[in-house]
């Protein structure tokens, strides 16, 4: 592999890796207070991407105005999912896994709706002001300012969340995640914190869709792909661990980009699965995850 191709593949992998990392983080945010995954998460991201085409291309909104609105839509969707698909399940039994069915059902409905209304139109999506997707030359590498900004933003989000989970409410969510009943006994309002978390996860998912649009093809299969890749990234890093999600996302992104170059584009998904299995085989609890001690 020549040096320029190596760097191109590296940059490409890191960029898509940021997207996977952020999807994984959004999954983690929802998982912590509820111990449930949103099977519709990929659709949320897809919706963000598709709506960004609408807002930015069709309606010509400025980027900085469209993004908060799209995040609000994502938050509303996340909150709605909690109220319809999660809360009724958990209130019956905290250990029930019926949310698999309810969120899966929601994702199928969303996928249908999005697929019916938006055809796979590849359009050039405008990027935030001051940034561009045109690559610049840095040494042997070609990087665009957008890709750099994306990486910086991803890291900032992970750092920001670390601080958020150390506030009063953040600690309460961590407590819910570890031992729900013990947290309830301390007066932690599980329902309210869960709703807020699912809204935040939804908002982040929508943001990811907007961020992904300039560098990926917004097509109907994207939702499912992102769900799988995002989940793999979260699992590699240890479910619930956001720093792990960052590492996991970058690993999956790099595995796919290098896999595509080395083995051919058909094998890029296989590459990420192989890396996933190898890493999980070496460290079952995830790269940064902690061992869970069960007292018998």
């Amino acid at each position: 592999m020549s040096l320029p191709i190596f760097f191109d593949t590296l940059i490409e992998g890191l960029s898509t890796g940021c997207i996977f990392a952020l999807v994984a983080v959004s999954i983690n945010i929802m998982y912590r207070p509820s111990r449930a995954f949103n099977f519709g998460q990929g659709e949320f991201v897809l919706l963000g991407g598709v709506l960004s085409l609408l807002f930015l291309n069709s309606w010509h909104w400025p980027w900085l105005a469209a993004v908060p609105v799209l995040m609000l839509i994502g938050a509303a969707l996340g909150g709605l999912t909690d109220l319809i698909a999660i809360r009724p399940v958990i209130s019956r039994s905290a250990t029930s896994s019926a949310w698999v069915i309810t969120t899966l059902a929601l994702s199928l409905i969303l996928d249908d709706e999005i697929g019916a209304r938006f055809t796979g139109a590849t359009a050039v999506v405008p990027v935030p002001p001051l940034l561009t997707t045109t690559p610049m030359n840095i040494g042997s590498a070609q990087v665009s300012s957008y890709q750099i900004a994306l990486l910086v933003l991803t890291v900032l989000i992970v750092i920001g969340l670390w601080f958020a989970y150390r506030t009063r409410h953040g600690l309460a969510i961590m407590a819910l995640s570890e031992d729900r009943e013990a947290a309830l006994l301390r007066g932690v309002p599980a329902g309210r914190l869960n709703l807020v978390s699912w809204m935040a996860g939804g908002a982040l998912a929508a943001l990811v869709g907007v961020l992904a649009a300039p560098i990926t093809q917004v097509s109907s299969g994207l939702g499912f792909e992102l769900l799988i890749d995002g989940f793999i990234a979260a699992a590699i890093g240890g479910i619930g661990d956001n720093r792990g999600a960052l590492v996991g996302g970058l690993v999956v992104g790099l595995a796919q980009s290098f896999g595509a170059v080395v083995f051919g584009p058909l094998y890029q998904d296989l590459a990420s699965f192989v890396v996933f299995l190898v890493l999980l085989g070496l460290r079952p609890r995830g790269v940064l995850g902690e061992a869970r001690v069960r007292e018998v």
Binding site: R168, A172, R186, V188, V293
Partner: protein
């Protein structure tokens, strides 16, 4: 008795001491279709230390969980200062002034000692200064915890975790402290430290309801004892040498 002699202040204290803080009336509760509590009547007066004894499966933990709102009662009343909290959610119960230290010292291992304590005060919305002051009171009560505020709670010994759990509950500034088998799994030396801590709290005027299987500990701490068997109260009295045998028999034989 001393209450008959003395200033108005003392008789006011006497009245306050007789005030019923917690009143359970005909409480029925269980899980799904399985009833565990079959009509519990119990009172705890302000500043009292009440013990609840009984064998495994008698329903003691279920009773505490019903009081805390984890288990919704099927029927009956749970009155706190006259207000019925039987249908209240766990958060409302804590805000009303009842804090429970659950069985098995369930602190949050992934958080530090200090974070665990801060979490205990979640319902109080304290300022940073007020929070530091409250945490300071816990350090005084349990100096062992003060030595390692930033340690992860999982790294503490069993006895220290139990102290942390009690400290967490106290951070909610409760009127009534519920303890579910705090001595379980602890060495005798540690149990004695625990007992001393509880006596300290008692002297400070805190009302305490303790559920235990450790009979001598309970008898040494409590003003009054209830004994439960198969979801019912079978004995209700003041611990004394003559009562002990009767209580043991009622509960375990």
């Amino acid at each position: 008795m001393t209450a008959a002699v003395g200033a108005i202040g003392e008789s006011e204290t006497m009245v306050d001491e007789q005030r019923i803080l917690l009143d359970l009336n005909a409480l029925h509760a269980g899980y799904g279709s399985a009833m565990v509590l079959h009509g519990i009547d119990m009172t705890v007066r302000s500043h009292e230390f009440v013990g609840l004894l009984g064998a495994n499966g008698a329903g003691k933990s279920t009773l505490l969980r019903a009081i805390s709102g984890i288990v919704q009662p099927r029927s009956g009343e749970i009155l706190l200062d006259g207000q019925d909290i039987a249908r209240a959610k766990p958060q409302a119960v804590v805000q009303a002034g009842i804090a429970q230290v659950a069985e098995g010292h369930r602190i949050f291992g992934k958080l530090t000692v200090e974070q665990n304590l801060r979490l205990g005060a979640y319902t109080r919305r304290l300022t940073t200064t007020e929070l530091a002051h409250s945490v300071g009171l816990i350090w005084e009560l349990f100096p062992q915890l003060a030595e390692r505020p930033k340690s992860s709670a999982a790294s503490l010994s069993g006895g220290q975790q139990q102290m942390l759990a009690i400290g967490q509950a106290l951070m909610a500034a409760p009127k009534l402290l519920l303890l579910d088998e705090p001595s379980a799994g602890l060495a005798p030396v540690v149990i004695e430290q625990l007992a001393e801590g509880l006596r300290e709290l008692r002297r400070g005027g805190l009302t305490i309801l303790i559920v235990e299987q450790h009979i001598p500990l309970t008898l040494s701490l409590a003003d009054r004892i209830y004994v439960m068997r198969n979801g019912k109260i079978v004995v209700d009295g003041i611990p004394s040498a003559s009562c002990t045998d009767a209580m043991l028999q009622a509960a375990y034989i």
